[in-house]
Amino acid sequence: MNLEQLREKLSYQGILLGGVALLTSAILAFASRATEADIRKAEALDLQQSLAIVLPGQYDNNITQDTVVLAGPGGDVTVYRARHADKVDAVVYRVTGRGYAGAIVCVMGVSREGKILGVRVLKHAETPGLGDKIEPAKNKWIFSFDGKYIGNPPLEKWAVKKDGGDFDQFAGATITPRGVVNAVKAGLEFFEKERSTLLDEAGENHE
């Protein structure tokens, strides 16, 4: 029987489809195993880099490993701790705000004293040209958080100017900066509430 006749048979179709599916799955499974370790390494490096942006200064521990998970605003928050000589110098965690087009994921670094070391937006889907001014490449706005803490400005001033607060909004976009300001404010309140756990002060007392 030649190929032409074989191809007409109903069983050939099933075997062909099954064979292709099996073969491609096998290739994918193999490729997945071959790339898994490298992908994890690349993602860990990525995380470390995104943490390092909001964490100026020196620390001598592996911050991606020194974590604590706490219930924070909007679910569990993984907090990364940067230590210097075993003392927690700063913490980094993610906060999420509601923007004009869904969630705005930010990462913020907070010093031991509760001052903001830096805020960066990791992921957003805001309108290009309007809301995307929260990216440092487009506008310096995100740096306006640096050095701020609850008290400077006072808690009620943690809002955009349109809402009577201290932070600028953008022409044509209020919802986006409002979302970021609220997220950062919630992040600072979270820090104040969980301060002793975050700074691992219980552990220090043992020593």
Binding site: L16, A21, T24, T35, P128, G129
Partner: protein, 225 residues
Amino acid sequence: MNEKYARISRDGLWDNNVVFVQMLALCPTLAVTSTATNALGMGLATTAVLVFSNIIIASIRHLVSPEVRIPVYIVLIATLVTLVDMSLNAWAHELYKVLGLFIALIVVNCAILGRAEAFASKNDMADSALDGLMMGIGFTLSLVIIGGVREIFGSGTLFANAHLLLGPAFAFLEITLVHDYKGFLLMILPPGGFMVVGLLLASKRVLDQRRAERATLATSETSAS
């Protein structure tokens, strides 16, 4: 023989261009062409997948029966895209961060299934590889032109952030055409994409028409003399 290759190349680049003639792959075209850099990235990734999918499908074209060809092609294309996705994620992570979103989109790029169906299933491997390459380059060029026009009018730059895609050596591509340009938002948003595609499509038609008129004029002149 050479004429055949020239024909395939001309088809891919101009006469049967994926975007402007076949009108395929308009979804990724409109979605990623807000800047020339994004357009280039999407074009290159698509070209790579297109070449490989054409080669593979041409190599097994005698084995695949017509009744089940579509699922077989789709599974093969999806596998190929996933392989590209995983290897970029593992070994070119910086590039992956820029292109990640587009790569998954390639599976639903009907231009790839279209070439598998219309060309690779009927021709040998060398021809199919060339067809994939030329269609891919044609697609890339169309995307870069659309992206370039949108970026120039929309944000006053050209190839912004190209170094993220191609490495620092290509930073020279980044041009700021208009300093302190406030931006023309419409061009960056989806409606701008539709407008630019429409205008470019019309210009191509006009060019083709002029060329055809000139050709008929030339033939009538030669037959008259």
